[in-house]
Structures are given as C-alpha cells and as structure tokens.
Amino acid sequence: MKIDLYTDGTPMMFSDDPMTRRQALKAGLLATAGLLLPGRALVGPLSAANRASDPAAATPTTAQPRAKAVIQIWLWGGSCHIDTFDPKPTAGRDYIGQFEKPIATNVDGIQLNELLPVLAKTADKFSLIRSMTHGNNGHETASYLVQTGRQPGDRQVYPSMGAVVSLFKGYDAGYKGLIPPYVVLTEPQGRFSEAGFLGSRFKPYATGGDPGQTRFAVEGVVAPGITEARQQSRRDLLHNLNTLEHALKSDPQIENAAECEKQAYDLILGDAGKVFDLAQEKDALRERYGRNTFGQSCLMARRLVEKGVPYITINYKGWDTHKQHFQTMRRKLPELDKGLATLLQDLQERGLLGSTIVWCCGEFGRTPKVLWEAPWNGGRNHFGKVFSALVAGGGFKGGQVLGASNATGEEVKDRPVYPCDLIGTMYDLLGIDTNARLPHPQGLDTRVSPPLGDKTASGGRLVELI
C-alpha cells in the first residue's frame, strides 16, 4: 500500500486496493464471533490489528454503542474557530480582532470565547476538537465533505450522515414514530441533495415555521385557524368526494396514498403532533434556552429525541461573515451559548445525554487573519484548513480537547481530524457498521464510509474522546 503524506506529515491514502476479505482472512481475523454478524464482522477486529501498520485505518471506537440519537447543530456558512472554541489570546490584534479576553471554563486549561459563559460552565459535558481539517473552501463542497466524510468529485453523491442514520435507525430498522426519522429545523440546507443516491425518501423532513414564535406552526402539522372539528368534517368530505380513490381502491399507488393520508392525520389530529407544542414546556426552561429561533430549536430537538427521532439537524444560519464579522458574533454567540449549553444540561438532567450525540460545527472555519481592508472591513473568509467542532454525549467524553491548531489558528499543529474520522466515530457510537452497504439505485457497491486505502485522508477514529 502506497502512503502519501500531506505537507503536515499526515498520511493520505491513494491505493486502489481497499482492504478485502482476502486480506482479512490472511490476517486471521474472520475466525472471530463477528462472522455471525454479517456486514458487521470486518470493521472491529480488522482495524484494531491493522492500526499499527496503517494509521489511516478505521479504528473501532467502542465495543458497546450507546447512542440512539444525534442532534447536529450546523453552523451554516462556517463559524470562526478562533472566535468560538479555539481562542488565541496571544496571536495579536490582526488575528483575534475584538475578542481579546477568552474565559476559563469549569475544566482546567480549557478556554472559550468571552461571549460563551454558559458553555464555559458546561465544559465538563462536551469535548472540543481543535484540529478539524479538510482544506476545502467552497460552501457546497465543504458542506458535502463535513456531512458525508467523502471527498467531492467522486462520481457518486453520497448521503449525508442524517440520511445514513435514518436508513439504519429509521423505518427499515423498526422505527415506528410518525415524525419522520430525519428532521431538520427549520429549513433544508440546500447545499447539496442531502439524501444523495439514497433518493428523496431519505431527505430530511423540514418543519418550516419558527419555534421562536408564540406558536411553532410546523408546516403541515399545525394549521393556524382551522379547528379540530373542521379538520374532522372536511376529512369526511374528502373521503366522500374522493371518487377516483374509491374506484381504484386496490391500486398500489392509491393504497399508498390512503396510508399516507392516515399517517398525516395521526399527526394533525392525534397526539404525535403535540411534540411540536413548545407551550407544554415550562416558561423558565424556555427562557434558559433563549427565546429565539435557535434556542427554541434546541428545545425542540430535545423533545424530538424524547420521541425517539434518531436524527435532528438544527440548520443554524448566519455564520458566513465575510463582512460585519464581529458585530455578527456579538449577536450570535450569546444565542449559541445559551441554546447549546442549556441543551446539554437539559439532556443530562433527563438522562438522555448518554444516548444522544450532539455535534456542532460548520462546513469550515474562517480565516484567522482578520480582513481589515475594504470591502471586508473586519471580516473573515472561508477557511477549510483548520476549524473546530464540539461533540458531546452518546459515548463521547466531556471536558477533553482533541488536537490543536498552531498559535495563529492557521495550521493544524497536532492530531489532525478529518470529517470521516468524526463521522466514523459517531457511526461507531451509534452501532452503524461503517462498512455496511448502502442501497444504490444502480446496484453499485457503496459503503457507509470510504474504504480503507481510499483517497480519503484520515487521522483515525477519535478513540481519545471515547
């Protein structure tokens, strides 16, 4: 196997010879009990044995997956690492701009931006990765990379993590909830077709509406101004006027339509839709989350987790701060702080943090060097070389920092973490076999994660955080 190195010395795999069953047999690894579990056998023992000689190999991170749900907080546009989770107080004004006084947290040695005081009190519950890297500065390609772990430009469009989780934890895996298994609050990202080749069935269900409003009018579930009695009576009317449906009762398409209608009404009229009624929460808790769209989205995400929804993305817009960067941070960071910290606390108080992964990052970081000149006037551009991610729950340790950037936040100094490492670790925590096949419309052999020896760069699974 030929191993190339990145400039920072990270191994990068360029082999055409992915790990095969033959190699596995040769390594004497298939004689384990894993054989009884088709499709799950390879990953664990194989990579453990392989790790010494092949640093890019996937490493099993946990023997007992505990995570049942994922909340992805997506900082749409790319948040600045040094103004959030990786402050650089000594880098000088050209780098740090307006935030010169990072604050200590309840974990020795970890500092955060001064506008994140509530998170600072919660630092024992989450870990930070300060060495995220992929080097891609385009929104759509970087969004694809961070959420699929795949390099763009392959002939395939792979599904995002949410679609993969909804495949393995959704309806085909016994999930019975009426709320679709992959929910996005409140709008789809629109950066790439999130379901990839899995097709539109695996697209996220976008709630629409605004949880920050008095009533969260989830599109389709809550119709303001229509009483329950009217819902009921016009449903009867529809049934009585649905002449073609009556004439074609046994047609599979029409049968499916009737089933969909039933499910829809279970949400509209039944109890399932009540999950979206945030008024059921105590005012004090709603305040703690922050009375804004993001804060209430975090609360909403917790309620969905309680209902068994396996994957929720909070699509948190507004981080693409080429201009007005510091003004925007002063507005957004307190929102992020309250919402995210309260989410972690609340999940823990309810005993859900152990089974719920929370991860928070954008598609890339932002240029550590502030662009003081016109037209940016104190802005930051895209920066895929280094960024930070926050992870918590579901088997991740709290209070840790993994990896480091250099003094200016411009280079990865220590322990690079590539998107596939982070995603692969989360799959491990969820008990999703990264070598499992994904159904492909042309029947191609496509797997959850890039195979060993693929051109995808890797720094290995995040064993340090487990």
Binding site: A223, S233, L237, D251, C260, E261, A264, G443
Partner: protein, 525 residues
Amino acid sequence: MYLIRILVAVMLLFSDSASAVEASPNPYEMPEFTTKPTALDELVWSRLEKLDLKPARPCSDAVFLRRVYLDVIGTLPTVKEATRFYADRSPNKRAALIDQLLARDEYTDYWTMKWCDVLRVKAEFPINLWPNAAQAYHRWIRTAIRDNLPYDQFARALLTSSGSNFRVAPVNFYRAMQNREPTGIAQTVALTFMGQRADKWPAERQEQLAAFFNKIGAKSTQEWKEEIIFFDPSKTNTESLAAVRFPDGSVARLESDADPRIVFADWLVRPENPYFTRAVANRYWCWLLGRGIVHEVDDLRPDNPPANPELLAYLERELRSAKYDLKQLLRLILNSHTYQLSSLPADTEHVELARANFAFYPVRRLDAEVLIDALNEITGGKEQYTSAIPEPFTFIPEDFRSISLPDGSISSPFLEMFGRPPRDTGLESERNNRLTAAQRLHLLNSSQLQRKLEGSTRLEHFLNASTVTRPELAGLYLTILSRYPADAEAEVALAYYQKNKTKSREAALDLAWALINSAEFLYRH
C-alpha cells in the same frame, strides 16, 4: 369576467354533460371508441390475448382531456378549453387536440424539462456546469425541442460538438457529468443514448467504448468559468487503434487525426444500430405510459427483455421511417386506443401482469413541477425559486412556471419535497413520484396550500359566492378536476355546503380543498 365565462359555459353545457355522466357507471370510462384501433393497438391486443387479459374500457373524454394535457404539456386545461372540448361533437376531436397540444409552448417547456433531467442541466454540485453554461445548455435543448430537431441530429450535436461552453452549448454534454474521464464519459453516453448501464458491462467492452472519448480536450479561457471542449489529437490512445470495437462488436476504423467522437456518432445513428432507436422509443413510451416496454428505460440488456417485443420493434420502425421526428412518435402513441384506455383495470386479478402489458393506463402522482404549477394555476398563486449557491444567489421571477426552470440548481422547498430529480446522474429513477406521508401532510394541512387557496384570485368568485348551487359547483369541478361533477358528487358537495352555510366561505374553501386533495387531482389517471 372569469366568473361570467364559466357560468355561461356551464349553463350551455350542463344538460349534455349530466346525461353523458348518467350513461356511464363512472366519470372515467365510456362504452366505445369513436375511432378505429391503430396498428400499434393490434400489437398490444394480440399480446393481451395471448396472456388471456382484457384491456380496460376506453377512457372518457374528461379523463382523456386531463391526461393528454398533463402528459403532453404538463399543464392543466383551463375551464374554457375543457368546456370547448366537451362541446365538440367531432369524432376526431381527440386527434385534433393532440395536434394542438404538440404545437403549444408548454409542450416545449415540459419536454425540455424531461430532456434536461436526462442531460443533467444543473449549475452546481455535483454537476458543476455553472450558471452561464447551464442556461446556454438549457436554451439549446429548448430550441431543439421547439423546432423538433430530428433526434439523430440532436444526439449527433451533443456527441460531436466542439467549442466554448457558453457559445456552443451542446458541448456541455461532456461537462455535465461527475466523472469526465473516458470511462465516465462512456458510461454517460451509454446511459443517455443506448439506455444501457455500461458500468455493468465486462471491463473490456467498457474500455472499448471509452476509447472513443479519450481525445476530448478541455481548456479554460480568460472568461470566468468558460471552458473550450475540443478534439485533441495529441492525446494518445492507450488502446491500439485497430482493436477498437463498437458496443455491437463491429470494428471501428479510427484514424489518428480524426475525431473518434464523430466515428462513434456515425455508428450510433445508423438505422441498423440496435440500441439508439430502441432506447429513445422505449423512453418516450415510458414518458407517456408510465412504464417502458423494457423496464427500466435506462437498463436495456439482453436479460431484461421487452414485455412486448413486436410493439417495441414497431415503434422503432416508425421512428426510423419518420426520420427521427419525435413529435410524430408522440402522435402515434397518443392517438392509439392503448394510450386512451381507462386507468381502471378490467381484470382485477392479474393487475401487475396487465400493467406490464399496458392493459390500462397506470395512475401516477403528478411530477413535482407539474403539481406546483397546477396548484398555482388554479389559485393564481406564485412560488419563489432560488439557487442557494453560489453567491450571489439566483432569484427567479415569482410567476415563473417550474416546468420552465432552466437549471436543476434552481429550486424550491416544494419541488425538493415532491421528488424533483437532483439531476446528478441522468437516471430515470432520480425522479420520485411516490407520495409520502410528509407530502400528504403538506397538501392536506400546510400554510402554503392554505394561503394559496384563501388568497386565490381564480377561485375568488366561488369562495365569495352568496350561495353555491350546481352551476357554481360545476365551475369549481371544471377548474380543479377539468370535468363536471357527477350527480352523486354534487349531492354530497352541496349537502356539505348547506350544512355549513353559516360559515359559507369556509365551506366553499373546504370544497376546493377536498377536490385538490382528491386522488383525481393528485394523480395522472
């Protein structure tokens, strides 16, 4: 004006239609065709006879009208068009309507949209044509469809053009694919023009096909995102030239200074080529009848035989003798009794066999684009289409119809929710017209739909009517379902209105809502 027109039309025609409805057990069928079966029908009937299957009854005028509008122009008939058609007593009125529709601008828009799915017209990830080129590519395809460019010339232009992606638009064929290596191009060419999945071929056959596409050069210019596609003789063939074979096994003569794409195109569009005509005839059949004679339409292979080989051979012959006039092929199919069968299977026991052999017209949910256009047409509503990338974002005038959107990257949440193809691969299966619970929820209860109905300029006269009686109800049925209500339906609807008369506007809204949510509205039938 609109109201008056409807009322006049309704009053003129009301008695006629009522008697027509009575004569038939349901509004979807009629006892006899007024025309003779065609040569195409004989082939379908003879296959059905062999299988001991009966064809469905002829579809009613109401069903035909709606079906042919949706299939040919992706657009609902207006009330005026519907009433005029029902009033026409000529036995050939269906053929006349088919000709009218094939000449409409919406025909061009709708069939351009279908081809843009196949040809992957998309500015952004993962196709990355970029907006300028996507627009140029779309415009070229649209012009070809409008002018009914013979299909062999259409294919040849896409395969052999050289020049700037902005100025010689068909060169974008070679840019609109994720893998632009010779093997990737070969797979796309096979999928597009031969209906075959070359990635499943033996490696050697794939390499042979790839050899025709390994002298394609690409270079950028001073202009942002401009790219010149050209024949680059300096690229050396890795294969020995003499050994290159066409996919049918015949030997190709490749000269080192001749563009091999042209050699390939010459072979492809020859009348005796076994793949080219078959693939497009099968695709067009599928686009009208919901299922290919070979199913799926982009998976033609020896072990996936046609359900009715004679029928497919007939379509191929006709297309060749019409010199690849695709409109003529459509006309041939649309005028057949087979196309004009009801969607109610005659034999409820062997439905799947009957479906595979075209014994009835299969119901399918409206395409995402057609559905939102229809909703907007009925309500006078609008939709916002945008492209999220790259910045600056693209915004489209709100009254734009989605069947005319040029670029797969320009979209709306509705289109995404209802399974519009992402145009990543050109596979037919990218379009997903299977109704989901989330879609149902949206149609039944979303604020988007509710707002469209409540703010409807087209339905205003109905919603604000002092009372709703049979003529007003007929107007509503014609607007939404393009037909008159049957007596039983009118009874139910008017009873509902009477019962809720204290809130008459709400009751009227509910009636419109119910028709929009009926299977008859949501499905081609």
